[in-house]
Symmetry: none
């Protein structure tokens, strides 16, 4: 690099970043918090190196605790500052020794608009959908949905796609369904099991459509889905959280089977509704139960439905 005899100037952050040789973020400016996941202790930032137009996406992740070096973590090196005490419960802020306090830093630089969108989180809102809002706004919206949006589902049901991933099929046109591992699941660890059952019937867009005439279908999915998962993966029915999403991400009825130990995204109340709750409510409270309810659920602000319901809630 210095072969012409010119002084080697200290590299700017931008140059070092491109070579993966940054020493710190000295001349870096954060422009936007793209996402912040306090549960995972993760944050995604958009920023710029001084004097540069190109943007960078920066991902910071706390490290898990290292079980193999607990004696150096939990010892004299962990400085404690009192926060709170009540009976046998006390709470401190702890400063761990530096080697136990590292974070992983992922940098994408220069980042494209596509990277930025990928890592940017949208605001989530809770809405209350009354039966009248469903009939007047959501149902027409579902019915106006272009059929092409469900083509990928029909490709799966017609075995044009994902045939090699099929776990189980009940081909009955009224009661039948297909069960596949969800694409999110790598099928390596059964305690992260995530499977999807898609029904063969094409006239049930969502939870709101369900009544007494669908009970046999719902029980069939539950019973045969659980048996297929037990047979293939050895996970018993009582280790499965079985639910639907309302609203679903596509308007063709499908059921999620997820390992009960797995805190998968999309399992929260206000998004997930247990299949057993769906069945129990129809049985006890009548065929119109899911049409009579005011359903409270989360929507992203970028969601079409938030725009449709936004004024009304």
């Amino acid at each position: 690099m210095a072969e012409t005899g010119i002084h080697v100037l200290p590299k700017t952050g931008a140059e070092a970043a491109k070579q993966g040789t940054l020493a710190s973020f000295k001349d870096f400016v954060v422009v936007e918090v793209l996402n912040d996941d306090p549960m995972a202790k993760y944050i995604a930032l958009l920023g710029r190196f001084e004097g540069r137009d190109e943007v960078a996406v920066l991902l910071l992740n706390r490290k898990p605790f290292n079980k193999d070096s607990l004696s150096s973590l939990v010892g004299e090196g962990l400085e404690l500052q009192h926060d709170f005490v009540n009976d046998i419960y006390s709470k401190y802020v702890g400063k761990p020794p530096p080697e136990h306090a590292t974070v992983t830093v992922d940098l994408i630089y220069p980042a494209t608009e596509k990277h930025v969108r990928k890592y940017r989180q949208q605001r989530r809102r809770m809405v209350k959908e009354t039966p009248e809002m469903y009939e007047g706004i959501i149902l027409p919206y579902i019915l106006s949905y272009p059929p092409a949006a469900l083509q990928w589902v029909y490709n799966v049901l017609e075995k044009k796609k994902e045939v090699d991933r099929l776990i189980f099929e009940d081909p009955d046109p009224q009661l039948g369904f297909m069960l596949h591992p969800d694409l999110k699941w790598d099928q390596q660890q059964v305690d992260q099991l995530y499977c999807l059952a898609i029904i063969h019937r094409r006239d049930v867009p969502c939870l709101r459509s369900l009544d007494l005439t669908h009970l046999e279908l719902l029980e069939n999915i539950r019973d045969k889905g659980c048996k297929a998962i037990q047979d293939k993966y050895g996970v018993p029915a009582n280790s499965l959280r079985i639910f639907v999403h309302y609203p679903p991400s596509y308007w063709h009825f499908h059921v999620h089977f997820v390992h009960a130990a797995f805190a998968a995204p999309g399992t929260a109340a206000g998004k997930a509704i247990l299949l057993d709750d769906i069945i129990d409510n129809i049985k006890i409270f009548g065929k119109d139960y899911w049409r009579q309810r005011t359903l409270t659920y989360q929507l992203g602000e970028a969601d079409d439905m938030w725009k449709l319901l936004g004024g009304a809630v």
Copy 2:
């Protein structure tokens, strides 16, 4: 303390621990890793102070990143060590400045066998609690619960504890409640907001106890709780996920208010039930709704209730 002229000896860790005045874990020995959640960057340890038989449960949690002081986190103070580079993607190990590297430390000391069981990782099971199982097994179990287990709740309600943390109180003996930030929440970042409303009435152990006579109480909690949170933290009602747990971790009715963007533990369907769903169901389907339902929920295998119900499901 030293009024008799005796030297004040340096306190042992065990003594300091009981008073919430530990400075470090100098004379603490880890006996067992009870749980390790690398996703949440959390670890639960069982240990002892030297020379003591009583055990302690120690919970360490990495702090989420603090969005409000990013300039001091992402700057010169974040020391980077090169890990990997490929095209625009690079990866480092980062050493954040100490104030950005703290962990929360929760200590239960002396801990009972029940605490140890609670924090020891256990297999999660889904159970179906029929109305008959509630009446025959769970209700007698609740009623047999030692009142001392709720003493900490009564301490809060009687303002013997946590007075400085009180956000809002409605003192009405029938409709009233107290609202506090949950201990899990450090009150720094509103998108991690987690508050708890505890009712003044002492005769409502859980969801199953609720009927038409509690509607006013439930709506009061929702409406005044949301208003108090809006006033204090600026978070509007439609950014809150409001729910109860069934089964709850203690049998005195309380309601969780959590930011909708926050994937907090315990928000999953099969554990959390939305307050609006509770209200809506009582209104539409009658006063006995929550007694008539078969409730499907998760239990740890070490839970007393799993043992009680285990044979029956």
